[in-house]
């Protein structure tokens, strides 16, 4: 599959800001799809509202652009109605975790067979850089001019605790690992979750002395540490999530489980759910 068989050439160049990390995520998604030889006709891309919610609009396949915060709910419905389709959710942190936080927790608990790619740029980028639940401690945004006094959401740890089958976190500074992780996520049955720490130079970096995308990418690379290199005196990676100017993102593959997905557990003869025989 060529690049412009996967994406629509008539929509190119896309409308994201110069240096936005979403382009890297789009390249990685294409690379994973073409390496796995997956068919676009059997795949549905679901997205919510936000910058990341516009990515499926560029894909040369079937996509659903849903209401704010509800892509997981729509994707669950699609998967249960048509179990033969692959359902991929691409959405941002504000959409999946701020507005639709409960949906993703319970989808991970039920282990619905959908693949989620969450692009975490640590702010509400589309609406002008307001404080998001994922903004690191002491970072400056338009609505927190004296620094963020809250502590950020640990997305991957949350989904891993909720019971997903595969959870990984990578950044846009590690695109090769990201491609391998998306490949694993697309082939693993059950709820799989890949978080991508992405740069937002215009609305997040510019207010934190990282207006150049190169500086922001360098900051992300310096402030991420692989899970295998987390030493004992750092305690567990779960304690290490208080990210501020000195803190660090833990990256790597967090969880690999082998639970039965939700679609399989309700599948019975003639598609009618019966109580188990005693």
């Amino acid at each position: 599959m060529e690049f412009f068989d996967f994406y629509r050439k008539d929509r190119w160049p896309h409308q994201f800001c110069p240096g936005c990390g979403l382009g890297t995520v789009m390249n990685s998604l294409y690379k994973a799809f073409s390496d796995l030889n997956m068919d676009l006709k059997n795949t549905v891309f679901v997205s919510g509202i936000g910058c990341t919610g516009r990515v499926p609009g560029y894909i040369n396949g079937d996509s659903v652009h849903t209401t704010h915060g509800r892509p997981i709910a729509f994707a669950t419905g699609i998967k249960l109605a048509r179990p033969d389709l692959n359902v991929v959710v691409i959405s941002g942190d504000g959409d999946l975790f701020a507005i639709g936080g409960n949906h993703i927790i319970h989808a991970a608990r039920r282990n619905v067979d959908i693949k989620v790619i969450a692009v975490n740029n640590a702010t509400y980028g589309l609406t002008g850089g307001q404080l998001a639940p994922t903004t690191p401690h002491n970072m400056i945004t338009t609505t927190s001019p004296y620094g963020n006094k809250e502590h950020p959401f640990a997305l991957s740890e949350l989904v891993a605790a909720a019971g997903a089958n595969y959870v990984a976190r990578w950044t846009t500074a590690h695109p090769n690992q990201l491609v391998n992780s998306i490949k694993t996520a697309l082939t693993t049955p059950g709820f799989t979750f890949v978080e991508v720490i992405s740069q937002c130079p215009v609305n997040f970096g510019r207010r934190n002395k990282m207006g150049d995308p190169v500086y922001h990418l360098r900051w992300i690379k310096d402030h991420s540490i692989p899970l295998s290199k987390v030493t004992f005196d750092m305690k567990s990676p779960f304690d290490f999530m208080d990210i501020d100017f000195k803190g660090i993102y833990t990256i790597g593959e967090f969880v690999k489980r082998d639970r039965a997905p939700y679609g399989k557990t309700i599948e019975t003869e003639n598609n009618i759910l019966r109580p188990p025989k005693e």
Binding site: H14, P18, L22, T24, N27, V179, V214, R218
Partner: protein, 75 residues
């Protein structure tokens, strides 16, 4: 095979200059037709893929993967 920059797509973010381990790209100084300072492929013989023929498997594509605009192509 070496990387080239498509000036129709490039928005001048200079991420390729940052990520390339062989420093093939340098920061550009001339405005493109779309109004961006596009990077220049200065040392294409330094690229890991320079001795490969077309159709062979590309060894390093970190600039291609990172470029948010899909402006880099290997020819």
């Amino acid at each position: 095979m070496y990387p080239t920059i498509n000036t129709d797509y490039c928005k001048g973010c200079n991420l390729c200059v940052e990520v390339c381990p062989k420093t093939v790209f340098t920061v550009g100084k001339n405005l493109s037709q779309r109004g961006y300072f596009n990077p220049v492929v200065d040392y294409r013989e330094k690229c890991t893929n320079f001795r490969l023929q077309k159709g062979q498997k590309i060894l390093c594509e970190i600039c291609w993967l990172t470029c948010p605009e899909h402006a880099i192509e290997f020819i």
